[in-house]
Structure formats: C-alpha cells, structure tokens
Symmetry: C2
Subunit: 277 residues, 2 copies
C-alpha cells in the first residue's frame, strides 16, 4: 500500500485509528474458547464490526507466538482475512524485529512476502544495515521505534547523546538511510509534549502512536502537537477496544469504543485547518 | 539450565562453541529438499555430528519465520529434538525481542514455556520493563544485545552518552535490573579490543560472541580480551560450520569445521591459567 492510499483511507473514513489485535486467551469471552480457533474467531468478530471506523489493524506477534504453531496459524488466518475482505486496511505486524543484514532480510520476507503485511515495526539498536533490508520493499512500510510509551523509554531513549536525546539521533540518522521514504516511526502518546520536537525532525512522516487509553495518553494532546499537514498519525488502541467487554456482547462493545475514538478523530479533523473532510 | 551446568559442560567438552542454526533453503544440500521437512532434517544431521563439540545451538528465529507455519514447525521439532536427545546442550532462541511489559511476558512465555529454550536474545532499546519479564524466569537466561558485530553497531551503540558509549550505559544500567543474574550479553567478535572495557563492567557475565568466521572476528583475540575467570564466553559460528559443504557430505564437513574450532578452544583453555581442563 502506498502512503497516498493510506491518506485517502483516512480522508474517506474520517479516522486515523489503528486497532491493536493483542489477543490473550485469558481475556477473551469464554464462549469463544469452544471454537476451533478462538483467537481468529475473536479477531474476525472485532474486524467485522470495526473495519469502517479504523484504517489499520496491528496484531502484536508476541500474542501469537505465545501459542506456538496454533498462534501462527491464527495470525496467518487473521492477516489473510483482512487482506481478502478489507484490502483497503493498512496492516501492521507489530514485531519489533531487527538483526544483521541477511537476517533482517529473512524477517522482511516473513512479514512482507509470506504474510503480506503492509508494514512491520522494527527496533533501531543495531543501526542502518539492520533496517535497510526492510526498507528495500517498495510499497511496504517500516515503522521504527523512536520514543516508546513505556517507563523504560527513559532508560536509554531519552539519554543525552552529543547534546540531544538518543531518540532524536535515531530519527535524524534514519533519514539518510536508503529508501528512508518508506519509514514511519513509533512515538508514544504518553509523551505528547515531545511531538513538537519530533515534528521538527520528521515533519511529514507517519507516526504510529501507542499509549492512548490503557497507558494514559490523550488523543487531543497528541493531535495538537503531533499532526502533520496530512494528518500523519496512526493512533493505536488495543485493550481499550478489544476488551471493552468479555461477554457475548464483546464485538458490540468494541464497536462502541472504536466509534468514540473515531468520532473524536472526526471532530479533530473537521476543526483542524490542516485537513478538509 | 543453571550457569553452573553450562560451565560444567564447557569443562567436560573442552569447548565453548555455539553453533548457529540459520537454515536457508537456498543454501542446504539439494537432496534434502525432497524430504518432508528439509530444515529439520538438515538441523538433525548437523546436531547429530556436532553435539559433542559444542555446548550450545542457536537457531535464529528469522530463518524459521520466513517459511511461515512450516518454519515454526521446523523450529519446534528442532528444539524438541535437542531437548530430548541432548539435554545437556544450552539452547538459545536468537529472536532479539523486546516490547512493553505485558507483551514481553508473552514473548518470554513463547520461548521459555512453549518452546522450552534455555535462553533468548533481547534488544535493549525499550529499557528495563521490556527486559525484566524475561529475567523473571529462574534457570532461564536473557541475552541482551550490547555491542553487535555489524556495521550498524556504530550508528547508535558506540555513540557517546554522558562521556561513555551507549553500549556501556546499557551494560551498566542492566546490572541494576531485577534478576540481573540471569543476564548474558551479545558482544560481537569483530570488535575484540572492546572486550577489555566490557569486562570492567561485567567481569563474570557470559558473553555470546557472534562474528567469528564469516564476519571476520578472531577467536584468539576474543579469548585474550574477553575471557572471564570461568571462561564466560559462548563463541558462535553459523555459516562457517553449517554451510561448509552443500553436497551429501555436508554433515561430515560441518563436523570438520566444528572440530577445528573446538580444538582451537581446547588449546586456549589448556594454555590459559584461568581454567583447568
């Protein structure tokens, strides 16, 4: 998917919501556990009731790997279902991979070719040659960790490197990498005040923003400081939507939560001078 | 597996060799491609002829994920085969994972419970709460990237943070984390001169050292600067051993290459005052 197609979808749906499909068998409705593939059944139900309210789904691979081969089957069925039924959706494999060049190429192949995700998240610690194999795929996107939403973000990411924080060095350095136009970045919503600085470095890049909702970030704050002239944000919510209820009404309640966020986003898009809806 | 058991194995085998099982279907002998599970058949043959020469096997998950569900089946069969037939072997899932706390817990569960690896490699960028869920497992080991063997290591890892390189900050900071005694570190062999400094920070920790062989690092140099009083090194070789031949003699040739490294290691252990063999 091209960036333009993602932007068109945002305009059409008046939403820049990404729904995180982090499915824990201990948290999903009990009646689904009787089905052959509870994780897929759960995802399918969530997707069917929310696809018009969001522009992206983001399964986190950890939640699938934890169930071994059965988990990978659920992941494969989920991505195939989205790609077949809702091809307009921007799909993110939240995998946070990164390794030496020939190994990163294998990961890129796993997520871009074998599973056919539109994008994958990667970690920056190993530098340029660990990320460029992902960037080599045209019309695929590589979403690199910059400033994450967890407490540990302050351990290294905000440490001062030659007068500026490490995450800024990461952002700046990555702009010189081959096919850097395929880069997006992860920036946590819990640190909204940082967006102003980040936008000075990457004014136009899409930012994937976790941390709204369960982790305490504010959508309005993020938009105020983080929006680009083309929106440039994908706001992720996982637990707040998919676990809104663990009864038989889970899908309905998930839609209600997704709708609240979509409506808030529509309001922001309409009131913003940056964007016509 | 406890650290003591790993040390005992090193003493018994006079080896601190780790063999990387990075299996690429384009590189293995053609006759194996006719079998039902070529990756597993290849691994099984390599393991059967080298298990007495090495103390550890390290499948890199990228090479399995690239083949989707079939790849995960090969990974599962490989780890099960090692655990059943050669339970003394220290197994490493080279996965370079790391995510927010509840997600890292799922990864830990995937590799420590579901697949029953003795250890997993992790990336440090997201800090303490992304690594501690792995450290919580007793008798399991978490091998964190410190200074990697690739070119990109110089992008961020060696950047100066408050007067010292980032990888040193990573090493120092991690020592204060809960269950830090379960930490080991990845340090690339291509930077042997760095080991002196690293041993000042983590004098006793095990270091997993990639980069000997294909990537150009010298075993003698690494041992000279990197050995602790209990050896404290796991030297990895992947391509140099497993792809020594791509004919029907691949296993035999792999053993020859592993034997060369084991003998060099035995020589170092015998000549070293640090260790009695």
């Amino acid at each position: 998917m091209t960036t333009q197609q993602l932007q068109d979808q945002i305009q059409a749906k008046k939403s820049f919501l990404c729904i995180g499909l982090d499915v824990d068998l201990n948290k999903i409705p009990e009646h689904l556990l009787q089905t052959e593939d509870p994780i897929f059944e759960f995802n399918k139900a969530i997707i069917d009731v929310t696809h018009d309210l969001c522009v992206s789904y983001k399964p986190n691979t950890a939640f699938y790997e934890a169930y071994g081969i059965k988990g990978w089957q659920s992941l494969e069925k989920t991505i195939n279902y989205i790609n077949e039924k809702y091809p307009e959706i921007f799909t993110i494999a939240d995998a946070k991979r990164g390794d030496i060049g020939n190994t990163s190429s294998m990961y890129a192949r796993a997520f871009f070719n074998d599973l056919d995700f539109d994008s994958v998240t990667v970690a920056p610690y190993m530098g340029k040659d660990s990320v460029e194999p992902f960037l080599a795929f045209e019309d695929k996107h590589t979403i690199m960790l910059a400033l994450t939403s967890n407490e540990g973000a302050f351990d290294f990411q905000t440490q001062n490197v030659h007068g500026k924080e490490l995450y800024k060095v990461v952002l700046e350095t990555s702009k010189s990498w081959k096919n850097a136009h395929n880069l997006m970045y992860v920036v946590g919503a819990t640190k909204a005040e940082y967006f102003t600085e980040i936008r000075k470095i990457v004014p136009d890049s899409f930012l994937l923003v976790p941390g709204v909702g369960a982790q305490g970030g504010s959508l309005a704050e993020v938009c105020k400081y983080g929006m680009s002239k083309n929106v440039g944000l994908l706001i992720n919510s996982s637990r707040g939507i998919i676990y809104a209820s663990n009864g038989t009404d889970f899908a309905e309640k998930a839609r209600e939560e997704a709708l609240k966020l979509q409506q808030e986003m529509e309001g922001i898009l309409v009131s913003s001078f940056k964007f016509q809806v």
